[in-house]
Subunit: 668 residues, 2 copies
């Protein structure tokens, strides 16, 4: 029997072999995963809760069993409830590796706060939320007019506010008689959804209590914006890894998980719901009203105070969340179960906001262009523009929209998660220790770089100060561009056989070529951080898919050049636009016409939260964008292969003249 | 320590002292309660499950404890689950009385099938159910038209059936993709609620599968009609005792139970929901399609096949079912929480029919005239009549409507449940062994009677053949009329001091006067069945309340005589109209203008199930009947006292001349 075991940590996906007998915390350190351990493994803080997953994980080639760990310790019982124990929860400090393991690290146990890259932008929104608040005072019932409680309120809402034919949610009705007779007798604040349904009644004047949330479910990351529905302010932004990552890193592998497992869909959906509920709680706990001069009062919201919620996500995330069979979305001709938007009671979904509130799920364009892209569209409104815009939303999938007010077409391309830093040997999310900028000297092939969480570059730091862990999404393109510009790799993406530094080597285990970005002494994971030939290939595939998609769409529209390129997603926020053009991520465009629009999908969700007209607009645009399936274009393969080259041969960019030495640019 | 213990059986309310050490089955026999015991107490059938209630029941003067019975027997574990055991369930054959007990006999453990008196009448209804079925065939998606599943169906529903702007229930949507791709590929049966929402999709053509249920929740009895929504046939009628009876026999005591117990409302509501679910199951299990010649196929429906449900009930039953605080309904000026009808998802109520179906709860008129009376109105339609109609719905409460197409007024009167046979010493529901007809010889004061379940009268039977147990609602008025006509009681209701038979006596224990209806030898409960002075008083109170209500309403309308009297409710079906007039239950009217309309409330629920226009009509009439609170009329007390006399002094009925001897009629 080997004295080593394979351990995989989810959702980060970090994996490797460790010595048996190590605690899970020690193992996580070796593999570069941060588990919270406030007490320094003294077994007293209980922060290092993790869950041992059970089952055969063929994809990873391991069988994880709860018996593959050391026995239960009494101390764990202080922090882990019996039902959690049933689910496989253990304390990372108490539990030792004794065999192959798949370990899930819950959001709250993850150390090293993520750098939120899905922050809300300041976009113009007209105030018209779906849920509005009204204050009413009614007359007391008498023998002459013993009218019912609800009817007296409806009369007043009609008389004063012009609302009519309202219905009331059954659970809100249950609260009515007592709230109407509270200390503020016969005075109520009434919350009305879409001028149609009363979804909440509160005693007295509580009009200031008016909140909602907009959620963007990405394949890898989920971001949520807690908004005041009266002031329209974003009062809290929270995010988490998509808890479904443990079932597969991309859309297709999750669809496969559903097809291979009887309750797979339910499991993935329930995990997401649970995750959304924890985001809601987290956002509520983080809130406080604006500080008042002299007295500092911090108040937390209650999830009950959230009376509206909007959700965007790609079609697969949409279907999995709603437990709609996603099988056919993954099967040609990829029809979704539903296009149009849905209004579902939060309680039916199991989302713990106000029990009578609705969740509004935005519409899908097609099987591979979902509600997230609709979010981008209603935030960016290309259908109101004269200019031809190319909107690129790079997440785990790439979604493309091209057009203007005359015509809009959309498409998707399988970029994979490489551009987000996932699936690379040392890819990681944007957290402290992640390489985000790099420079490679063309003469010496020596490397200088910067990590998140430290202002000073490597050349100005002691090695041990860097604590490098990996490369995040925004650093990936930088690495590739520098590798190319400095001549470490060739146009084809292959490593140059002539290397000037000792950083290039063949990995003794895999025999694969790799290039060292950070030496072991600079890293906090006790290993060199490298980029391999396979990693470069992944990035090339991603950028090739994207470039080829853009070109094919332009050909369909019959245009040679676009007026504006908008890059959405976290990637767009962090990417060096010049390097993106240099690497041929998308067709040429004037640099000052390339703009980043941040998390436009999330902005779209927020827009729909704050303006109900945008919900109608979303349904309209979802049915009026023409979806084009690029993979069925006859020369798709050829276009794709060409697009993988660096830079694309057919498009010699003028910008590159200044950036890339001639001898490199003129490589054959 | 006494060797006897008090035992009360619910929901029948039968009570008495029994020897300690008796099994609960033996005790139930002594007290005239039927518990099912198929195996004859051999402890092998498990049919005699009962629940020992725990707590101090002040109303009954007992403290019931689960320790007041003999220890748990191993055999009980075969039929009683651990969670039922927790709730206090025991087998009646195994469990012995060792102290005071309140024992609840669940519906399924009650022997002696109830004679359903709430049968459906044949009333004209125009077919227009709220849920309609449509059959659609859609085209397969292609790369050119990869439209979503739902959208393809909606297009077809619009093109072929003219339906538009439909939404779909989230849970129905979940079923859609797989059902669309079943063996009947691209063919579906779609169930649409109110032309607004798809609530069910089934693979292939299943238009014949189209069912709903109408429910009438009475204070004492609940009746349900399972209907085919296409043929409008009532395919099964089921009923049960209201499971809330154990919390109080009338409306006010249940409201009090809510006020005195923190979770009282939830408990009463949950019991009703559970009861309704068992009615649904029972009705479904009893169904089978019409027998086909030659081959006999019995099929049971699945509760899932019920796609619509309508409910009527008085305002308190309505509020308790929906967990709406009923406190203010019991408090002047008695405003209900809501008048208008409600459409609530069955799943939100916990009612286990099709998971996407709605439950339609009819509107309330006022705090004491509820949705059940609205049901009566839409079934009887007095607002379409020229004649002035007096509609009397006698259940546990009496509800009155007076008027015609010019004007309608309604009121309620506290008849109490005496006219239904409840709260009398030997009152019981209409089940085998209940006295339903009686004759008393004016000369000898000897008694002849007939019981339910036996065609021959007492005088043609051997005593032991009668198996008399008590007096049911329909027998009560007969008993009273005969007692009066024969001179056993006086006009005031008091027993005549001059009695001609030995049937009159003073109860040795209570010292109260009583009259024996059936001797011990004729009874199956081992005791004489008697009617006491207190019982007679109860009936007088009930009939006085009713008569006085009718008269005050007529005074309000300024009329002396009504054109038609309609008696609704089970009471109306069984009552001898002549005797009702003789006893002064309601003001004088030609005998042929007094008609029984059966369970008109239930008919109303059924009408609303089969015709959605009736739902609108119900909302209209609920707001257009003027409710009158009679108890605040200045001479109410005086009117009421007078009305308690037999017969009412101010109204010497011509009919009585033939029925009642002059010397009795002319009593002072």
């Amino acid at each position: 029997m080997s004295d080593r075991a394979k351990v995989i940590f989810q959702p980060s996906g970090r994996r490797g072999e460790v010595e048996k007998g190590l605690s899970l915390i020690e193992a996580s350190r070796q593999l570069g995963v941060d588990i919270e351990a406030l007490c320094g493994e003294k077994r007293v803080c209980g922060k290092c809760k993790v869950r041992i997953e059970e089952g055969a994980f063929e994809k990873f080639g391991i069988v994880s069993r709860r018996t593959n760990v050391s026995v239960w310790q009494e101390e764990e019982g202080k922090f882990i409830t019996p039902s959690q124990r049933q689910e496989g929860y253990r304390l990372g400090c108490c539990c030792k590796v004794e065999g192959d393991l798949l370990v899930f690290v819950p959001e709250e146990s993850r150390a090293g706060k993520q750098v939120v890259s899905k922050a809300a932008r300041d976009i113009p929104i007209t105030w018209d939320p779906a849920v509005k608040v009204y204050y009413v005072e009614v007359v007391e019932p008498t023998f002459e007019h013993p009218t019912g409680d609800l009817e007296r309120i409806l009369e007043e809402l009609h008389r004063v506010h012009g609302l009519k034919d309202l219905r009331i949610d059954y659970l809100a009705l249950q609260k009515l008689p007592v709230r109407l007779r509270g200390k503020d007798r016969w005075k109520l604040t009434v919350y009305v959804w879409m001028d149609q349904e009363i979804v909440r009644v509160l005693a007295g004047d509580q009009r200031q209590n008016h909140y909602g949330m907009a959620i963007d479910i990405g394949t890898t990351t989920v971001a949520a914006y807690l908004c005041n529905l009266t002031s329209m302010e974003v009062i809290e932004t929270v995010s988490m890894m998509n808890p479904q990552c443990k079932y597969g890193e991309d859309v297709m592998s999750r669809i496969t998980y559903h097809m291979m497992n009887k309750d797979g869909l339910k499991r993935m959906s329930d995990d997401m719901i649970q995750g959304l509920n924890s985001l809601v709680r987290q956002a509520c706990e983080g809130t406080h009203p604006p500080k008042k001069k002299g007295k500092k009062t911090y108040l937390s919201l209650n999830p009950n105070d959230l009376v509206d919620l909007t959700i965007v996500g790609n079609t697969a995330m949409h279907h999995i969340l709603l437990k709609l069979n996603p099988e056919y979305v993954g099967l040609a001709p990829f029809p979704p179960v539903i296009h149009r938007s849905l209004d579902i009671k939060a309680r039916d979904l199991g989302i713990k906001i106000n029990e009578s509130a609705y969740v509004h799920v935005l519409p899908n364009e097609a099987g591979f262009v979902g509600a997230d892209n609709v979010g981008v569209l209603i935030a960016e409104e290309p259908y109101k523009s004269d200019e031809v815009q190319l909107i690129i939303d790079i997440g785990t999938n790439g979604e493309l929209v091209l057009g203007n007010k005359e015509k809009l077409i959309s498409s998707s391309c399988a970029t994979g998660p490489a551009l987000e830093g996932a699936q690379l040997s040392y890819g990681m999310r944007a957290a402290p220790g992640a390489v985000e900028r790099i420079k490679i000297d063309p003469d010496t092939h020596e490397v200088d770089y910067k990590v998140i969480g430290r202002d000073a570059w490597r050349s100005y730091s002691k090695p041990e100060e860097m604590k490098t862990k990996g490369i995040c999404g925004s650093g990936i393109l930088d690495v590739l561009a520098e590798l190319y510009r400095s001549g470490v790799i060739l146009k084809s993406g292959k490593f140059n056989p002539v290397q000037k530094s000792s950083r290039f080597r063949k990995n003794p285990e895999t025999n694969q070529p790799e290039f060292v970005i950070a030496w072991k002494e600079e890293s906090s994971i006790g290993k060199d951080v490298v980029i391999t030939q396979k990693d470069i290939r992944q990035i090339q595939l991603a950028k090739g898919a994207l470039y080829c998609g853009c070109k094919l769409m332009m050909r369909r529209m019959g245009i040679e050049k676009v007026d504006k390129v908008k890059i959405a997603g976290a990637f767009g926020t962090h990417v060096d636009r010049e390097k993106a053009l240099m690497m041929g991520l998308f067709p040429d465009c004037d640099l000052d016409r390339v703009i980043s629009v941040g998390n436009a999908a999330g902005d779209g969700a927020r827009t729909a939260l704050l303006n109900r007209g945008k919900r109608q607009e979303a349904n309209w645009v979802a049915r009026n964008v023409e979806y084009i399936e690029l993979t069925v274009e006859k020369d798709f393969q050829q276009q794709f292969m060409q697009a993988m080259q660096i830079p694309h041969m057919k498009d010699p960019f003028p910008h590159l003249k200044n950036l890339v030495p001639d001898h490199i640019l003129n490589q054959k």
